[in-house]
């Protein structure tokens, strides 16, 4: 170590680095908050495509006056659209619920915080089950 440091100048021998953890793997990564943060970015990017796609298909190229039972039935013949809606449903619900958890954390304090967050999870969970059920169980005639 001494010999290496004596070499002077600024260029140190990178072949035998000082025994620091620089450039090394860092153990304490992972964890709920990290995962939630990463999920918000990834689901955000995917939702950008899915939600905008949804908006254009349903409300620009078509409209609420065109969308009826037949429209949905024709669409749901294709497994693709069921997958599209299912992915969007799950990503948007979890993304939205986690976003709301962040907001509730800001404005409420225990015990109200825990009650509201759990309440949101229950309502969100019901919507998820209901939505998933409809998408999966719908029978196109």
């Amino acid at each position: 170590m001494e010999a290496k440091l004596r070499r002077g100048g600024v260029s140190m021998d990178r072949q035998e680095p000082l025994t620091t953890s620089y450039g090394s793997r860092v153990k304490p990564s992972g964890g709920i908050e990290l995962t939630a943060w990463l999920f918000m970015r990834i689901s955000g990017i995917v939702l950008l495509v899915l939600a905008l796609g949804h908006l254009f298909i349903m409300h620009v190229f078509n409209s609420v006056h065109v969308i009826d039972y037949d429209f949905v039935a024709r669409r749901y013949v294709k497994i693709f659209w069921r997958g599209y809606d299912l992915t969007m449903l799950w990503l948007a619900m979890i993304h939205g619920l986690n976003g709301m958890r962040t907001l509730v954390d800001d404005y409420l304090h225990p015990p109200a915080r825990g009650i509201v967050v759990k309440g949101m999870y229950v309502v969100g969970g019901l919507f998820l089950i209901l939505g998933t059920w409809v998408i999966m169980a719908f029978r196109s005639p």
């Binding site: 440091l5 860092v26 304490p28 990290l34 404005y107």
Partner: protein
């Protein structure tokens, strides 16, 4: 010399139940700084005005306060560059002790939490610990912090959640996490990865706007998040 108007949010815990605005007029040169105005008020109008300052040259970080609604060092803002009456308030999110003096104990205890000193890797060398210019450059930005508190008290996440470790402590952690000579990264990253650590940051950028040293605080926070996500520095 000409007259400059100030309004200052005053609070004396022994007399007031809540802060109130007071107006002042003092003679100043246009090239005088807001700090000079406050000193003039304290010196010749109302000696009970309480504020912190030490170096008066933007180095010590004592006199961060809200000047016309923005976190600034009073010693770095010229009177001629701000609208009158110049509104002066204590930094937001800290408990006000008196007038512009706030309780920064929590702020500094979070600073201490990140072990803001070099943690040695192995025995000390005979001379200095060498580092290449590139390695030094890696954390250059975050060495500039003077711990004035302007970033942390401009952050809405901190206002909402006083337990959030805050941008200043993250900047200090960054300064050592990315230092090639330091061996305490895991310890600091572990704190950064907690619920009240970097994940509380919502990328609002107020801290960047507030920093009197021009540190890109949000970038430093993002680099710490990235180190955690990738699991490597």
């Amino acid at each position: 010399m000409r007259e400059v108007a100030f309004k200052i949010l005053r609070f004396d815990p022994e007399k007031d139940s809540k802060p109130h605005w007071e107006s002042y007029r003092v003679e100043l040169e246009p090239t005088d700084r807001v700090l000079d105005g406050l000193e003039a008020i304290k010196g010749s109008v109302d000696g009970s005005l309480s504020l912190r300052r030490s170096c008066a040259h933007g180095v010590c970080g004592s006199d961060a306060m809200l000047i016309n609604g923005r976190n600034r060092l009073a010693c770095k803002v010229l009177v001629k560059n701000v609208k009158q009456p110049i509104a002066i308030e204590p930094m937001r999110g800290f408990k006000v002790i008196k007038d512009l003096i706030v309780d920064m104990e929590g702020f500094f205890s979070k600073y201490r939490q990140v072990s803001p000193y070099l943690i040695e890797a192995g025995p000390a060398p005979e001379k200095e610990r060498l580092q290449s210019p590139e390695e030094r450059e890696r954390f250059d930005d975050t060495t500039k912090c003077i711990l004035c508190g302007a970033c942390t008290t401009s952050c809405p996440s901190f206002w909402a959640d006083p337990d959030y470790i805050g941008p200043a402590a993250i900047v200090q952690a960054h300064r050592f996490i990315f230092d090639s000579r330091d061996a305490g990264k895991e310890k600091r990253l572990k704190i950064m990865n907690e619920k009240e650590g970097v994940w509380r940051c919502r990328t609002v950028f107020n801290c960047v706007e507030a920093c009197p040293r021009g540190i890109n605080v949000t970038r430093a926070i993002a680099e710490v998040k990235q180190a955690l996500v990738r699991g490597k520095v």
